[in-house]
């Protein structure tokens, strides 16, 4: 049996691409190696509790009726009413550095006012930066220029602490590169976090993922779980068949892969020459989830999300040790505006981590290291925040190794390769990349990526590349 399209990966991008194709009667097969859907943003159960793997917050919040925003586009392309996402907005979030704090919310005015108060010398420059950001077309898939964000920001803002404070949330929530950030990606993240904002879906990721999966299946899409792709067989530049782990060969008119660029090239048989030359991502994280015996608010945590740095300067790079405790993200899911309170208090802590260091540990040392590093992170955190350890009733920690194991992303790189393939094209005709390595990151980003790539390479495939150029997002 031949499919019009085969999609590798039932993460957000794969599910979204699947919905678009099935909606227009393309015979579509989605194959996922894991037994759960969701990929980098899945969920898991421990001791009768279901935890989201990735979700702190969905970025890009825009209210019902706004159709030109990324969220608005996503909803209309998937034909999902805004209310079905059941989004509950954040309260106030914060960027906390030594001696400085900037609050922000889903009203951009708050951040502007905070910058004016805390950095009065910098506010004009900050406004100039915001103008540049608003004017930039970050979604042009055919713009391959690389612009350094540090240079652009430095041309507007001169205080290094303010610079770091702006970069910190944007890098944590969507930067595959170390040190600097591609300016288009900086603009995407700035808009999605500061100009739009945060929300959480009632019911968490299981709710959203199941809705997407059900929609795909209702539209006639086929999904196979626990079905890893072993090889993508090519003949010259052409795609021949996709082989699953169990040996079955499947023919498809085209393949969209969300497994990552290098990972996908690594599946090609015979091997693709350019596979080794593409940069492999390295930025990964450790995340601990703490279930509390009361609401975070009752322990002095009243913000939705805090991006913090305890050192004088913020560094975003793979640490030279297991984890870097001097910066991180602290998320209090309870401090989102849910219609009724969540059943339990929860705090989530994220720090930068090194896959290499975790991978080197002997099996017997891994568990102990998790515990020790978590403790080290908490000790550092408590320099800035109240100690909540006596109130923890359950906790769990996952590392870059866990991410690698469950999603297959090399190095557990949450944001994939620093070198994005914005048009999704690979050396193999009819094999395209979607999701993380195409370049739209995060929950909303990955979903839009799946939509854009399905539109561009399958639904509009009869159109010439010149006609397609740039209009996917116009």
């Amino acid at each position: 049996m031949k499919y019009d399209a085969l999609i590798i990966g039932a993460g957000l991008s794969g599910l979204a691409a699947g919905i678009r194709l099935a909606m227009f009667d393309r015979k579509t097969l989605l194959v996922e190696k894991h037994v759960e859907i969701g990929g980098l943003n899945s969920f898991y159960t421990r001791k009768h509790r279901t935890f989201d793997v990735g979700l702190h917050a969905m970025t890009n919040f825009s209210p019902r009726g706004v159709r030109s925003s990324p969220l608005g586009k996503l909803l209309k392309q998937l034909r999902i009413p805004h209310e079905d996402f059941r989004l509950c907005e954040q309260g106030v979030s914060e960027i906390r550095f030594p001696g400085k704090s900037l609050s922000f919310s889903n009203e951009f005015g708050l951040l502007e006012q905070e910058v004016a108060e805390q950095f009065p010398q910098q506010i004009d420059g900050f406004r100039r930066l915001v103008e540049k950001i608003r004017a930039f077309d970050e979604l042009n898939l055919d713009d391959h220029a690389t612009i350094s964000s540090r240079e652009v920001v430095a041309s507007c803002v001169t205080d290094p602490v303010l610079m770091d404070m702006i970069f910190c949330p944007l890098m944590y929530y969507g930067n595959a590169s170390e040190g600097d950030m591609d300016f288009y990606q900086f603009v995407i993240m700035f808009k999605s976090i500061f100009l739009e904002g945060f929300a959480k879906p009632k019911g968490g990721m299981p709710y959203i993922l199941n809705m997407l999966k059900d929609k795909f299946v209702q539209l006639g899409g086929e999904i196979r779980m626990g079905a890893p792709v072993k090889a993508i067989h090519t003949a010259g530049e052409a795609l021949r068949a996709v082989e699953l782990e169990d040996g079955e060969e499947i023919e498809a008119g085209c393949v969209l892969s969300s497994a990552g660029y290098v990972e996908t090239m690594g599946l090609c048989q015979p091997p693709q020459a350019d596979a080794d030359r593409h940069a492999v991502g390295r930025m990964s994280f450790i995340e601990s989830i703490f279930v509390l015996d009361r609401e975070p608010r009752d322990l002095g945590f009243d913000k939705s999300i805090v991006f913090f740095c305890t050192a004088p300067r913020f560094a975003y790079r793979v640490p030279g040790e297991l984890i870097d405790v001097t910066s991180g993200v602290l998320c209090a899911p309870n401090n989102f505006q849910y219609p009724e309170p969540l059943p339990e208090g929860v705090l989530r802590l994220t720090n930068q981590a090194s896959f290499e260091h975790w991978d080197r540990l002997a099996r017997s040392d891994y568990r102990a290291a998790k515990k020790a590093e978590r403790e080290r992170a908490l000790n550092e955190l408590c320099k800035f925040f109240p100690d909540f350890r006596p109130n923890v009733v359950f906790l769990d920690t996952f590392t870059p190794k866990t991410i690698r194991k469950y999603t297959g992303h090399l190095n557990g790189a949450v944001y994939g390769s620093p070198h994005k393939v914005k048009d999704g094209v690979t050396p193999v005709r009819n094999l395209f990349i979607c999701g993380t390595d195409q370049g739209f990151l995060g929950i909303i980003g990955a979903t839009l990526s799946g939509i854009s790539m399905a539109n561009r390479h399958v639904l509009q495939a009869s159109r010439s590349p010149i006609q397609q150029a740039g209009d996917v997002h116009a």
Binding site: F24, R463, D471, H473, A474
Partner: protein, 87 residues
């Protein structure tokens, strides 16, 4: 289909694509893009829906014909004359 049925079919398609829009006050001579904040992704969907519902391929060169409701009706009526209304 008659031109009135074609018009109704297009309205149905737009209602599916833009469920939050109030289509009751539609002006047939005003660009759809301007009335309903439709972008190129939406136009792709209109073309894809025509293909799905009526098996009709609208070539790229003809996209400008879909700019207003009345130009849609004018362009589509002869092409859909042998079709029954759907949906």
């Amino acid at each position: 289909m008659t031109s009135e049925e074609v018009r109704k079919s297009i309205l149905d398609i737009i209602a599916d694509i833009a469920p939050d829009e109030d289509l009751s006050g539609i002006q047939d001579e005003v660009k759809l893009r301007d009335q309903f904040d439709l972008d190129s992704m939406d136009f792709l969907d209109i073309v894809m829906e025509l293909r799905k519902r009526f098996n009709l391929e609208v070539p790229e060169a003809d996209y400008p014909q879909l700019v207003t409701m009345s130009s849609c009706v004018e362009y589509l009526t002869p092409r859909l004359k042998d079709h029954q209304p759907v949906g």
